[in-house]
């Protein structure tokens, strides 16, 4: 999923595109900081998605032109956003009431590790000199019914991120529903990870070799076909 050439699997925009296809029309979605933000660029034109950011905006749109930026109108990643018709503002307790109260449909987050029982680790390596920082991730995964993860399938050092068990400190237990990686799409089921779609140029055994948990293979395993312009 790095942009370097010669690599198999999907590019990051392609993973974001793939995740965007699973958002149902009319749903309310919170996108995590970083790659998940790219998902908004790839929602099919015939679907209306309402975006929520935990710092108190519902119904925001793309980054505005530089001259229209307002330091008081930012998303959770502290980047400027625009407003779409029908937007609203609210304070932090109301914003997290939405999140924790189950009023969002999806959140799409990054991950350091995901375990086959749906545990998520995405806030700390636990290293002694790391500055711990959790933000809103623990609330999002505790309250939003559909927790999707977008992540590279392996770390920069080639270590698996889909694990039998997470070794990093947890963000939550048993919350992840689906994982989108450069290698494929993985549902988290009662039996563990099930690969339902695979990226072009990869075999299931290549994916298994880079996954630290058994993979159930869907009876309907599909090849991911991304549009040629992404």
């Amino acid at each position: 999923m790095s942009e370097s050439s010669g690599k198999t699997g999907l590019s990051r925009p392609q993973v974001a595109w793939r995740a965007a296809q699973d958002l149902v029309d009319g749903s309310v979605v919170n996108l995590g900081i970083g790659i998940p933000e790219m998902v908004a660029d790839f929602v099919p034109d015939d679907r209306q998605i309402i975006y929520h950011t935990e710092n108190g905006v519902l119904g925001f749109g793309p980054r505005p032109a530089p001259e229209d930026e307002d330091p008081d109108l930012i998303n959770a990643g502290k980047k400027p956003v625009s407003l779409l018709p029908g937007a609203s503002f609210f304070h932090h307790a109301d914003s997290f009431a939405m999140i924790r109260g189950g009023h969002l449909d999806y959140c799409i987050l990054g991950a350091m590790q995901v375990s086959e029982d749906g545990n998520l680790a995405n806030w700390s390596t636990g290293a002694p000199d790391a500055i711990p920082a959790v933000g809103g991730a623990m609330d999002l995964v505790a309250g939003v019914p559909n927790v999707f993860i977008i992540t590279d399938h392996v770390t920069r050092k080639g270590q698996p991120k889909l694990m039998k068990a997470c070794t990093y400190p947890l963000t939550a237990v048993g919350v992840v529903k689906r994982v989108f990686t450069d290698y494929g799409v993985f549902d988290v089921t009662e039996k563990g990870f099930r690969i339902t779609e695979i990226a072009p140029g990869l075999t299931v055994s290549e994916v298994e070799a880079k996954t630290d948990a058994p993979l159930e293979i869907s009876d309907h395993l599909k090849l991911i076909e991304t549009p040629s312009n992404i």
Binding site: D25, I50, G59, G86, S88, M98, H103
Partner: protein, 236 residues
């Protein structure tokens, strides 16, 4: 694409089922969604649990719903009314169940239900009959009562303005329970005095953001409960 506007009150409440738990907005008549309640009487579904601050006035609106025998239980803070005997007669005959909740605890339990908070501690009702059987806990030297949240299948509320995405504003003290009930129900059905397009309500003045609202019906001139009562109307 999203459009929450319904063509009629019948369509708006079509999904309400026998046995439902329904939060009904309003403090007395202020904010009472009277057309939605009357539609519920016309529909005739029964065995309802109603959550409201009161138990109705006169023989219209909530009082009429109770009088129609559709309500099994009411959760409220103040079921007495100077101009209605409907609830009190049923209650004395043991034909309706009452869960009496202090008004602030009622509001906080509803808000908690909408906010994903399952339970909280409050000083309210400590040492009174309404705290009997409830867990008491000392926190920083003071005792508090444990209260659980309230949720509902349906919320029926009255707003001033609604846009197509469900963003709402209210009129004055008619706001009362509307915003928190919209949060706490699985399906929130709104009667609004005016429906506008998304973008016509300033984002700064939205009181209930659209994600809390499911169905909207425009009722430009809602009946005024106290006027109906003065005119001696009983519904239907």
């Amino acid at each position: 694409m999203i459009d929450k506007i319904c063509p009629s009150v019948e369509v708006a409440i079509a999904g309400i089922k026998e046995g439902a738990t329904i939060m009904v907005g309003g403090f007395g008549e202020a904010g009472s969604p009277i057309e939605l309640i009357h539609a519920l009487i016309d529909k005739g579904v029964g065995d309802l649990t109603i959550i409201n601050n009161n138990a109705g006035n006169g023989a219209v609106g909530l009082a009429a719903l109770i009088g129609a025998g559709q309500v099994r239980k009411i959760v409220c803070s103040y079921p007495r009314s100077s101009n209605s005997k409907i609830f009190s007669e049923l209650y004395r005959r043991g034909e309706i169940e009452l869960e009496l909740v202090p008004q602030g605890t009622l509001a906080e339990r509803i808000r908690a239900g909408g906010a994903g908070i399952p339970a909280f501690y409050t000083p309210t009702s400590l040492g009174t009959p309404l705290a009997e059987g409830k867990e008491v806990r000392e926190i920083k030297g003071r005792n508090y009562v444990l209260e659980y949240n309230l949720t509902a299948d349906i919320a029926l509320i009255r707003a001033e303005k609604a846009d197509t995405l469900g963003n709402l504003t209210y009129n004055k003290a008619a706001r009362n329970f509307g915003p928190i009930m919209a949060m706490a129900a699985t399906t929130t059905i709104v009667q609004a005095r005016e429906v506008v397009q998304a973008g016509e309500i300033n984002p700064e003045v939205v009181v209930t953001p659209g994600l809390f609202v499911d169905q909207i019906i425009e009722i430009t001139n809602p009946a005024i409960e106290s006027q109906l009562i003065n005119e001696g109307v009983s519904y239907p």
